[in-house]
């Protein structure tokens, strides 16, 4: 009974992980712009790897090796989001053509829009 439950859980986890990996790989090759690709790759090396490794843990049972796999998961979750952040920051830093590639919403534009909105409200009130 427990074996069947474990098998089903393992299949569910690794299947979900495979779905994430496949969508990540498709996204990396289908998207054209670096940041969109980064978005797809981030799914791949956080959720995809987490689900796959959890499936492996469930399949092998809770031994010393699965404790090591948990450490691997912690390491990957510490490092891969930071590397994604750095790649994104690099793209922002060196791309001169950023406005054409996407709509940039930073603090300045938001405040500018707010300033633009406030006088119209005042006019209507007046």
């Amino acid at each position: 009974m427990i074996d069947i439950v474990r098998l089903i859980a393992c299949i569910l986890l690794t299947g979900a992980g495979l779905c994430c990996l496949v969508s990540g790989v498709v996204g990396v090759f289908r998207f054209k712009y670096a940041l969109n690709r980064l978005h797809a790759a981030a799914i791949l090396d956080t959720v995809g790897i987490l689900l796959m490794l959890l499936g492996v843990i469930v399949a092998t049972g809770f031994t010393f090796t699965s404790a090591k796999i948990l450490v691997v998961i912690a390491f990957l979750w510490l490092t891969s989001p930071v590397s994604g952040h750095l790649i994104g920051r690099m793209e922002i830093t060196i791309n001169d053509d950023l406005d054409n590639a996407m709509t940039v919403i930073d603090r300045e534009t938001v405040e500018h829009e707010k300033d633009a909105e406030v006088p119209t409200d005042n006019k209507e009130a007046n």
């Binding site: 510490l78 490092t79 930071v82 952040h85 750095l86 920051r89 690099m90 830093t93 060196i94």
Partner: protein, 339 residues
């Protein structure tokens, strides 16, 4: 390309002409202010002739420039019409010929290989048997691979470490910016620094927090791999690579100013050379005593203990230092051209 005007004026022919016209050479020019009118007259005549020669010379220069321009135009026309087609044709033919040649060579070699896993293979000889059966007893290393690469075949590993060191030195020769003798940075160094500041994200708070937690862990794991090479998985190359990666992460997070406190060019040279010479000297001692059947102070010890297996843990540390320094040097040299 050819002589320019000042060269021409001091040339042998011009001086000869001027001497012929009235004895006014270049030395005499300086004294001509104090001379009488006659001398200055001859001087102006010499000037006139010199100007004529100059005009001729410039006309010749212009003709040469025109000729060169025509030649370049001709070459360009040829390259864009026939040359392109010829090189394309040659490229395709050569690509097919080389590919087919390599495929034939590799397939014929693979056909000659003995069947996989057969007990009569040449690889299954008494050498491998001895490594597996007596390796632990003779070297004292539980990890048979460590015993093989650092004891039975230590000379080979010395060559590998030297290859790494030579690669690092070659990159140094090619990429390191020259410093001025007084120690101040040159303009090319300042430009590289400016580029680096512009293109590399610095003082990233997220990365710094992550690195301050991860770098000690990575370095500790690398040291564990180094020290543990003769007992379990690990060893000089793996541990050194992990330590180098930790150093590179630290450099990325905190910048060159922080790493320069403990790792400069001097550190690199001292650590690499000390590790390699320690390796060479200790292995020379071990080879010498072994070959002459002399008593040696190096004993295998108890297998499985930390200080056992003779020289292997120390050689692992030496190899690891070389690998770590080489990786870090590659990274810094390719990024900024300096350490």
């Amino acid at each position: 390309m050819a002589k320019t005007r000042p060269d021409y004026e001091s040339s042998l022919f011009a001086r000869f002409l001027r001497w012929l016209q009235g004895g006014s050479t270049q030395l005499d020019d300086e004294m001509s202010h104090t001379m009488d009118d006659k001398a200055s007259l001859s001087h102006s005549e010499a000037d006139k002739i010199a100007q004529e020669h100059e005009a001729k010379y410039e006309a010749r220069l212009a003709a040469m420039a025109e000729q060169e321009k025509n030649m370049y135009a001709h070459v360009h026309a040829w390259a864009s019409n026939q040359g392109k087609g010829l090189s394309n044709w040659l490229y395709r033919i050569l690509a097919v010929v080389i590919c087919v040649g390599i495929i034939v060579l590799l397939v014929s070699t693979a056909a000659e290989l003995p069947p996989y896993g057969s007990p009569d293979n040449p690889a299954h000889n008494e050498v491998a048997e001895r490594y597996i059966e007596k390796g632990m007893q003779e070297t004292g290393a539980v990890n048979i691979v460590a015993g093989m690469i650092l004891d039975y075949r230590a000379f080979d590993t010395l060559g590998e470490s030297n290859v790494l060191f030579i690669a690092a030195v070659t990159v140094l020769i090619l990429l390191r910016m020259t410093t001025r003798p007084d120690g101040k940075p040159t303009t090319s160094q300042l430009e590289a620094e400016c580029d680096d500041r512009m293109y590399e994200p610095k003082n990233d708070l997220i990365l710094q927090h992550q690195a301050s937690f991860l770098v000690p862990m990575i370095l500790l794991f690398g040291i564990y791999g180094l020290m543990n090479g003769h007992i379990g998985p690990g060893g000089g190359f793996g541990g050194g690579a992990i330590m180098g990666a930790g150093l590179i992460l630290y450099l990325n997070a905190f910048g060159f100013k922080k790493t320069e406190r403990f790792f400069t060019f001097k550190t690199f040279s001292i650590v690499s050379v000390a590790a390699l010479s320690f390796y060479a000297v200790s292995k020379a001692y071990s080879f010498f005593t072994g070959a002459n059947h002399l008593p040696s102070i190096i004993t295998p010890g108890t297998p499985g203990m930390l200080f056992s297996a003779g020289l292997i843990p120390y050689l692992n540390i030496a190899v690891g230092m070389v690998v770590c320094c080489t990786m870090y040097a590659f990274y810094t040299l390719f990024r900024k051209g300096d350490m």
